[in-house]
Subunit: 347 residues, 2 copies
């Protein structure tokens, strides 16, 4: 026995119905609601076959059937192959970015919010992650008599800034001079490189040791800090709307997973830097998410870094809708981040 067109049609109807209602679906429902031209008894036989093939599960004997992870997988794959994407789909995502100027992190936060409110699931947006950024400009700005702000611009437009102490004798012009020299010496290096070079620079540029040493310290810290990307989450509470999470313990587990951003980032990014991923149930590899699905897409910035956006929902997710929304949002973000003014734009 194997799959034929009719089995497929029936399976599809079952999945559609289950996604809609969330309750096990019976043979009668299929035969009536989706005019198949078949009686419930026939459907019943087919369903029995489908169960044997591993596409359906039966919570208990007298309930209807529910689709298995394998079924969703088939469903999603065939949908993607057929290119059925923007069908029941999203209004333009575009309109949700209002005519304001955005900082990178704001865009990301906002994207998570929009994504969750459009999908009614939980959304996660990761900031782009690329190679270690390379220094482009270093500038120190006096802040008070005793402290200065260090700004480092990198090739990724990423800016690390921090305040360091400087002795009160060093004035703005001196800082500017030092900044210029440093920029010349360190342009193109990574922060890690910079840490290697600094000691000899300190020896060479005698005077202003204090400032240089502070900077050295700053580089050292910066090395580690730069790595962790920004993670924005939206609509965690949406999950609780679904009967799958009416169990409070389950909900709590899910929420605490959402709270550990690092772990969450790993999970979302789990599938490498693929342009597009759908992971269903066990495929997520996370026990806590055994009955969740994760759909991710990626976006990229002008400098070629990859960021990831993802939606987490119950396995009976409205895949086509989610996929289409993610698609649009991915493009939207890519556009936004490849504008002339990297990291911001005025629409």
């Amino acid at each position: 026995m194997d799959m034929d067109a009719r089995k497929l049609r029936i399976l599809r109807a079952i999945i559609d119905d289950y996604i809609l209602t969330g309750v096990p679906v019976g043979s009668r429902t299929i035969s009536k609601k989706y005019e198949m031209g078949l009686s419930s008894a026939t459907i019943r036989n087919e369903m029995s076959d489908l169960e044997e093939l591993g596409f359906l599960d039966q919570p208990h004997v007298s309930a209807g059937r529910i689709p298995s992870a394998k079924a969703y997988r088939l469903y999603v794959d065939s949908m993607l192959q057929a290119g059925i994407i923007p069908d029941d789909s999203a209004e333009s995502v575009l309109s949700h970015f209002s005519g304001r100027v955005h900082q990178m992190e704001e865009v990301i936060d906002h994207a998570a919010k929009v994504l969750s409110s459009l999908t009614q699931y939980t959304a996660v947006v990761l900031s782009p992650k690329g190679n270690e950024p390379r220094i482009q400009t270093i500038q120190m700005v006096p802040v008070s008599a005793e402290s200065a702000l260090v700004v480092i611009v990198t090739d990724q437009g990423l800016i690390r800034d921090s305040i360091i102490r400087v002795s009160s004798e060093v004035d703005g012009d001196t800082l500017y001079a030092i900044s210029r020299t440093l920029t010349n010496e360190l342009r193109g290096s990574t922060l890690t490189d910079a840490c290697g070079i600094m000691p000899q620079l300190i020896r060479r540029m005698d005077g202003n040791d204090e400032v240089l040493r502070s900077l050295y310290g700053f580089f050292n810290e910066g090395k580690t800090v730069t790595r962790s990307p920004h993670v924005a989450i939206g609509g965690t509470s949406n999950m609780l709307s679904y009967p799958e999470y009416s169990d409070v313990d389950k909900a709590r587990n899910f929420l605490s997973l959402m709270e550990t951003r690092d772990k969450l980032a790993d999970i979302i990014r789990g599938s490498g830097e693929m342009a597009f991923t759908v992971r269903i149930g066990p495929e997520t590899g996370v026990p806590e998410m055994a009955d969740c699905s994760i759909v991710t897409a990626s976006y990229s910035t002008r400098s070629g870094q990859q960021g990831t956006i993802g939606v987490i929902g119950p396995t009976r997710m409205r895949y086509s809708r989610v996929i289409s929304i993610l698609n649009m949002m991915g493009h939207e973000l890519t556009d936004m981040f490849s504008g002339e003014d990297e990291g911001k734009r005025t629409p």
Copy 2:
């Protein structure tokens, strides 16, 4: 009939027990567990009185009593008056800030995490909010051939930065020169002021119109953006551990409230800039929080801005513990932000 010492002692026992167990407490429990030297019957009479006085509620006739908001209020007030604070309280909060250097926002995020894990409730930390910041230094740093980074240092150490377009003819030294002039002209102004001054500056400093106009635009945006403070939340999932939130609907309401950061910030800050607040149940003024309590404390930075930290928990909160932890955390943050290096430190 009015309160006497015995009634108070009994009320206190009831509250203690209820905070511990979360279930309505009966007369027998009080008379046995807390050696009162009184029979359950006597306690019963007193409890009846206490109910009449509005300190106790009875979910139904054959359940025990639970403390009312009024009772908690009395409890907290008497506790505060007596100065009973660091009793059953926190190990040093200090140890939780490991020996690393922190950026303001990181400190705040971290504080929320620590606070929630110490209290087992939900914690909220707001970044300091003061008057509109005043410009101290303006600096532009070339980023690419066509764009520059603007950094504005304010008296609050608050830094606004953004990327603006500049034409390719303008080199780094020119930018530095313009920056110096602007700093001289605008030092001490707020961004709002700056917007007023800019037009005439543009007229006076002829040449480099483009750069100045871009800056003007940036000031205009900055005015509005600067206002929204950073809000860090920790331990939202903790709330679901308490039977009060075993109802999924309630939990969802609570969570979506936590997601709207602006509203949350308003609520937390709701009680003005008091050094210390305890709002119990209805006192929060938020219907969704009718059976929550909010305890807040404030911290301040060197420049005198006030930030707020808060803990949200069920009304049967372990007040003394929470208050003591908040106290310590408040001091800790104040110390951290009044160090020489405003906004960061190396312990």
